[in-house]
């Protein structure tokens, strides 16, 4: 599975790592819902750390799309929310 950390790069991760990421992703989602800045920062840092530690960085000459995207390590909760919301609005508009 290929994961992109925004403003960082693409990484290839194995299944066990993907599972870890999935758990952290759930935490990230909950933090976003509750607007819990501290929990958000913790979950995001863990996601980035896990990918850096267990993933294999793709060579920039490998040009391929990713399956998942992780926010940039320096993103704030508000920035991520805005990113996700911006697309939600567009999707709605397209449907409507």
């Amino acid at each position: 599975m290929i994961v992109r950390i925004l403003e960082d790069g693409q990484y290839k991760v194995d299944k066990s790592t993907a599972k870890k990421l999935d758990n952290l992703d759930t935490k990230l989602g909950k933090a976003l819902d509750k607007s819990d800045e501290a929990a958000f920062a913790r979950a995001l840092a863990s996601l980035v750390k896990t990918v850096h530690a267990s993933g294999k960085r793709l060579d920039p000459s490998v040009i391929t799309p990713s399956d998942l995207a992780i926010p940039a390590a320096t993103s704030t909760l508000a920035e991520v929310r805005e990113l996700l919301a911006s697309e939600a609005i567009k999707v709605k508009k397209k449907k409507g």
Partner: protein, 285 residues
């Protein structure tokens, strides 16, 4: 839904907007290569913008530091003149500048980090553009092969995703630069309005007070001299009006108020307004 999945969708959606897919995938490859070159230019401009913003902040920090040093000197001078009130004012302003300086330092650090990151992005982008250029020729050459179409599709998706990521990073960097420029503009305004002490010194109120205080000693001496001269040379006539302003008005009272009458003689003959005597006292204490 998973945040990572949703975010991936956002990136793809943005990616689709970055690249216009045309009917012939080989043309799409060429077009996307052009777009990448454009983006490389943009990122390079971004690096230049951050550098400009950083230099501006450095210049402001220098100016603020000079103001802080000047206020420190003024505080010392004021104390030497026994003007604790002025010294306090100068130190208070200096403290305010200290806060501004700290904020500038934080901004500066952020800009340096941003600059480093953009430089890194430029290098990565350059490597990617170069890799893409050779790959697209290979893909175009083998286009007739059945699997080539899928490969081209993947390459185009991959490259547009990367471009979308770079585009978002650039947007974020530019937002930050804009924020900092707005704040830098506010500091410039403060500096030019003199609220943080004008560096030209002409409109600096603390300096004006200090100058006044040091001049007042001289003025005292001149006043004493003038008083002495007047007392001896023009005893009765010339001094009658200024000495007893209350007695002068009777005739003029109805038309104008008393002041204009004794204003003139006071200015020439008896220049002892209250503000000077007040300062004299403070000076001597």
């Amino acid at each position: 839904m998973s945040v990572m999945k949703r975010l991936s969708g956002v990136v793809q959606a943005k990616a689709n907007k970055v690249l216009d897919r045309v009917e012939d995938p080989r043309e799409t490859l060429d077009l996307s290569y052009e777009k990448q070159l454009e983006q490389l230019q943009q990122v390079r401009r971004g690096v230049a913008d951050v550098a400009t913003a950083r230099k501006r902040i450095e210049l402001q920090a220098e100016q603020l530091q000079a103001s802080a040093n000047k206020l420190q000197d003024q505080a010392r001078t004021a104390l030497a003149q026994n003007r604790e009130d002025l010294a306090r004012e100068a130190l208070t302003r200096r403290a305010a500048i200290g806060t501004q300086l700290e904020q500038l330092k934080t901004q500066h650090d952020q800009l340096v980090a941003q600059e480093d990151k953009l430089v890194q992005t430029t290098q990565q982008l350059q490597a990617r553009v170069e890799a893409f250029r050779t790959q697209k020729e290979t893909l175009k050459a083998s286009y007739t092969a059945a699997q080539a179409q899928t490969k081209i599709g993947e390459a185009v998706s991959g490259i547009s995703e990367s471009m979308s990521d770079t585009g978002m990073a650039m947007q974020r960097a530019q937002d930050k630069i804009a924020q900092m420029q707005a704040r830098a503009g506010a500091v410039d305004e403060l500096l030019s309005s003199g609220a943080l002490t004008d560096l030209t010194g002409n409109t600096d109120p603390i300096q004006a007070e200090l100058d006044k205080a040091s001049q007042s000693g001289q003025v005292d001496a001149e006043l004493a001299q003038l008083k002495g001269q007047l007392a001896t040379s023009a005893p009765a006539g010339a001094l009658a009006t200024p000495d007893k302003p209350e007695q002068a008005p009777p005739e003029d009272d109805k038309v104008v108020d008393a002041e204009p009458v004794h204003d003139e003689p006071e200015a020439t003959a008896k220049p002892t307004p209250d503000q000077f005597t007040l300062e004299d006292k403070e000076d001597e204490s």
